[in-house]
């Protein structure tokens, strides 16, 4: 393809997503590959090799796009930027090997830090959070620290090359990963950890809630302001306008979700509804027990990754959110190409004929066993030709 053809394909693919999320009949259902470190081993590398080498990241991504005719990929390709992390100290991830990629529960704030987080979150992040994780970095001189921080610019350059030059410029594909999340997600995943927030929910629920609000002010509110400052409607050069995560709901009761999670998330979603934009929510675990909350979300605003729930049951329960999934990893990893194509066809025929559906693996493909290469190839080929 020449440059013009590649750009035309890219824009056509973006429109497939926009139509699907808006519940308009798309020309065909887009295939959004939920394929992550699987790419690295598929390219013949070990996980530890790629984690520390941006050039290998680029090669693996290029090879993936050249082999599999997907419409988009969830992450930009880097996933874990160890060259940046290592400028301050050691990674939380361990046991890196040929295929493994492990990380236990992690935290960098204690409950005693809550007052400081609430008072000035950025100051607490600087003085407490980063040095609890990277104690040696506290002794860096300002000049050393500034030099270390240059690694973010290097990461941006790699990401831009992957997103713009490679995915869009060479293959007409979208790839991206800049999640904006509610404060509770950050507390759960990184700042207090799963054990920490689970204890805090019982022992210090009010303080936890106040800290989440303080984080929202710094992390999420600027994104909402930015959304409102843009022209109303979609940017057709993207498949959706922003990307978010919904992982931490898995430890919450419905009552806790309504108290500590939903108000911030609803405020975020409302900004999309009010500005005529669309949000993709990468969700893991079971979602359906929270479906009542999402009844407030207008049709055509949110797309949701469905991991553990039966996507056909979710469709019966909710009629306004675009669902993303339909490809079971157990079949992608163990079935034949024919079985995988039949699975994709059933999903598209049942869920996607009138929009409201995006084809994807239900779980992140991280390891070789998560999908056979011939199955990814067969599904991608099928989806690219299955016109509605």
């Amino acid at each position: 393809m020449n440059k013009e053809q590649t750009e035309k394909l890219y824009l056509e693919r973006c429109k497939l997503f926009r139509d699907a999320i808006a519940f308009k009949k798309p020309a065909r259902v887009p295939y959004y590959a939920n394929i992550w470190t699987w790419r690295w081993t598929d390219a013949g590398y070990t996980v530890s090799e790629v984690c520390n080498d941006y050039e290998k990241v680029k090669i693996a991504m290029d090879l993936f796009f050249s082999k599999y005719k997907v419409d988009a990929v969830v992450d930009s390709g880097v996933r874990n930027p160890f060259p940046l992390v290592n400028t301050l100290g050691d990674s939380w991830y361990d046991n890196l090997g040929k295929e493994k990629f492990n990380c236990g529960d992690k935290f960098c704030f204690d409950v005693e830090d809550y007052d400081a987080m609430k008072e000035n979150f950025v100051k607490a992040l600087w003085e407490i959070g980063q040095f609890k994780k990277f104690p040696d970095a506290k002794n860096y001189t300002p000049e050393q620290y500034a030099k270390a921080a240059k690694s973010l610019q290097e990461l941006f350059e790699v990401r831009d090359w992957l997103v713009k030059d490679l995915a869009r410029g060479k293959y007409g594909c979208f790839t991206g990963w800049t999640p904006n999340v509610v404060g509770f997600e950050l507390m759960y995943n990184f700042f207090r950890g799963i054990k920490g927030v689970s204890l805090d929910l019982r022992r210090n629920p009010q303080k936890l809630k106040e800290v989440c609000l303080a984080i929202d002010e710094v992390v999420l509110d600027p994104v909402i302001q930015q959304l409102r400052s843009l022209p109303k409607g979609y940017n057709m050069e993207k498949p959706y306008d922003e990307f978010s995560l919904m992982l931490a709901h898995t430890v919450l009761s419905e009552k806790q979700f309504g108290d500590i999670y939903w108000p911030a998330f609803k405020k975020y979603i409302d900004a999309f509804a009010e500005t005529g934009k669309q949000l993709f929510v990468f969700s893991e675990g079971n979602w359906i027990r929270f479906a009542d909350f999402f009844d407030e979300v207008p049709k055509g605003v949110v797309a949701l990754q469905v991991e553990l729930d039966d996507i056909y049951e979710v469709r019966k329960r909710n009629k306004t959110i675009t669902l993303c999934g339909g490809l079971q990893n157990s079949v992608m990893g163990n079935g034949t190409p024919q079985e995988c194509v039949e699975m994709a066809k059933r999903a598209i025929d049942t869920l996607g004929k009138d929009g409201g559906f995006i084809l994807s693996e239900n779980k992140m493909c991280s390891y070789p066993a998560d999908a056979k290469p011939e199955n990814v190839k067969a599904v991608a080929e099928f989806a690219s030709q299955y016109w509605l």
């Binding site: 390709g77 874990n80 940046l84 400028t87 950025v122 970095a137 500034a146 240059k150 610019q153 999640p179």
Partner: protein, 50 residues
Amino acid sequence: MANKFKNVASFDSASEVMKYMDYLPAGTSDEEKLNYLVKYILVAIIEFSV
């Protein structure tokens, strides 16, 4: 005046760090530099690309 920040333990040292961030485009404001540093810390803690 001698540099009063020998290390970066204090948040106040961010202003001193900014003096060495000459790799950012000329004209980058202090607010933008601070946002950059906050993003750097977040990525380092989170260990996910953005």
